[in-house]
Symmetry: C2
């Protein structure tokens, strides 16, 4: 226990987490790949599209036959046929000719542009007036305009979005190589904790952290395994930790990490094979009594028992850990869930630690305001009322009313 | 077809969508409720917590016994026992007494505050020096501090977050009443479309929209049903639409809604029982040829065939439709996925329509820049390269380099 209050600064903890590599990969069907992270670059095995196509309904022509055409002096062209969707056109377009073409239709040989139907007027079945001059390639997508054969289409480390699945479909890639989802084993400890179905007697509380942390994992695309609820008993908890280490990529234990008489977590971690203690205490509030260690490739996290503290630690550090395990290299990861807002009042903060303040957001006119939600970290109501967190830096004594703050959405 | 170009403005379309009510509800286990939308208010059946508890490791005392205590003049107290976690304390705290208590322990009768262990010094087994004066209720959570019995804890219409599941667990609510997930049937049409496993011949393309739209549904918490790939044939498509209407809450057909020779979608919609055409054309770009209708309680959407147009329409209008069907009443729905950025160049825009411009985001120092990604809406590469969309209002002729814009993340 001698290391206990050698607390680390948040940036030191980030550096430690950033050393954790991604998990292995697996191949899954494309339709299951949404939200997963690519473990290999995707390259184009062919030109996409693989033929020249029209992006408009109109007439395929030789552009130079329309040069100078306008409403008062339209170009007169001979209509020699029609492109059928999905088929190779049977006819070529020669000088002075036009072929009717639908959006997405394949451009006939000889044509190099499409006059939109709005500028076309049929005098009879085979005579067309085109009242607009087009440039070569106008209204046409050429082979490889999306991606040339061999081009890198998507880079490894990308968390797949709908359109990313779309482009893989376009390339005929029905399977995709992704990093495995992190499996998180969740253990709640404490003699006072009872299962959700039990009526707590005075002195007891229901297991809030299990449900909060499990949903938190799902939000990050991880799988949660509920290992169980454990009394503060050395042998029982040790057995549960060892079993969890075999099942999961990371084990999260909440409770038991404060300096209580029943503090067991670290003692048990230290009995785990090849255990390496990486972090014991972080200079943030709430969340100081956090433990991070590893046993071989498996990460073990000791979280505070208070749900608000546990969730702040999860948001700040375990989001990053999950991104690392998932292989995500997302330059905008941090941006996506942040909102700028104006603070409604002054907040004081002790220097020497990062403070995370829960805030409620509301709009008034065009301004978004952040109103601090104060309350003890043992109260889950503060989290339910809060829309997000703001950070007060270690070397800042506080924030001022009216100041613009960045809110990480909870 | 006479209604075709009576295009509606986006705000008219939003008003139409806002008339669509939520789907029915269902009861599910709490552990499956993350991301679902509450269909009933959650009220507290009991005080939470149901007993007074300490939020610190320390000694439970009568606060007035510590009044005036400090390091040079500590209060001397008699230690009469220890609170065991999860149990009702066996002893009461009388004047001049103290009982050891762990974080989360139940406050003994007579005590009204806790002196943190850091300010306590044991002279012998039963004699304590407390070097700090505490106020009544200091370091204590009282019964009902989270929620009083009968209080509204969560309101219907909330999309459930991790902490919302946590509070329901705290209240012992193992089941939760939520709105059903929207079931979306997806149909791709076009003689030129082939399934992902087939090698397209010249003139053919693979089915990109199926995968893009299906993943889009999953992102919004909806279920997608893939109805199939359909040639531009009246009877085949009609049968597929009718079957989809029986299976789904909303049917989305992409392709076939431009003014092509093969335009069939609307003709088929009009044969559906009780079909009501609500929108035929929207003044946005891309995405103008969008159809919205209903057949009884089921919504039918005709989306443009070009994937970029289809995804813009989905982001702008179908996100809102899905929120309506899901019952979500989220005051911050729009905020969550937006980023402010600075535009890298001027963009022109035609007035009389809303333009949606795809942009790539990048950081330079502390500034986030939005760089327009230009390209035909038939190119999926433009979507893959883009991080988001910016809107140019109907009555604006363009945006300027350096202007701050709001980017909806794609």
């Amino acid at each position: 226990m001698e290391t206990f209050f050698k607390v680390k600064k948040p940036e030191e903890v980030f550096r430690i987490i950033d050393r954790f590599g991604p998990l292995g990969d697996e191949t899954i069907p494309l339709e299951e790949a949404f939200g997963r992270v690519l473990s290999e670059d995707v390259t184009s095995a062919e030109d996409l599209p693989c033929f020249a196509r029209s992006v408009m309904d109109g007439y395929a022509v030789r552009a130079k036959d329309t040069f100078g055409a306008n409403e008062s002096l339209p170009a007169l062209l001979e209509v020699t046929g029609e492109v059928v969707m999905g088929q190779i056109p049977k006819m070529a377009v020669r000088e002075g000719q036009a072929v009717k073409i639908p959006t997405g239709g394949m451009l006939p040989e000889g044509a190099d542009g499409v006059v939109m139907v709005e500028y076309c007027h049929l005098l009879d079945e085979t005579t067309l007036e085109a009242s607009r001059s087009i440039s070569p390639l106008e209204n046409v997508i050429q082979p490889g305009d999306d991606f040339k054969k061999g081009a890198t289409v998507l880079k490894m480390g990308r968390r797949l979005r709908p359109q990313d699945l779309g482009v893989m479909a376009g390339l005929g890639q029905s399977e995709v190589s992704v990093y495995k989802k992190p499996r998180v084993a969740i253990i709640s400890t404490g003699d006072e904790i009872v299962a959700i179905g039990d009526a707590p007697r005075p002195g007891q509380v229901r297991d809030i952290n299990r449900y909060t942390l499990s949903a938190f994992c799902h939000r990050l695309g991880a799988e949660s395994i509920y290992s169980g609820l454990c009394p503060d008993d050395f042998d029982t908890l040790k057995a549960m930790v060892e079993k969890s280490l075999r099942l999961a990529d990371t084990v999260w234990i909440s409770g038991g990490s404060s300096v209580g008489t029943k503090d067991l977590t670290l003692k048990i971690f230290e009995t785990v094979r090849d255990f390496e203690l990486l972090v014991h205490g972080i200079s943030i509030s709430p969340g100081k009594p956090t433990i991070i260690g590893r046993s071989g490739p498996t990460h073990i996290i000791g979280l505070p028992g208070h749900v608000a503290s546990a969730l702040v630690v999860a948001e700040v550090f375990l989001t990053r850990l999950m991104a690392r395990l998932s292989g995500q290299l997302d330059d905008f990861g941090g941006l996506k869930m942040h909102v700028k807002a104006e603070l409604t009042r002054n907040i004081e903060s002790a220097s020497g630690r990062e403070d995370y303040i829960r805030v409620r957001l509301f709009r008034d006119g065009n301004t978004v305001f952040a109103q601090p939600v104060f309350g003890k970290s043992g109260l889950i109501s503060t989290l339910v009322e809060a829309d997000g967190l703001i950070k007060i830096d270690m070397n800042t004594e506080g924030l001022y009313q009216g100041q613009k703050v960045t809110v990480a959405l909870l």
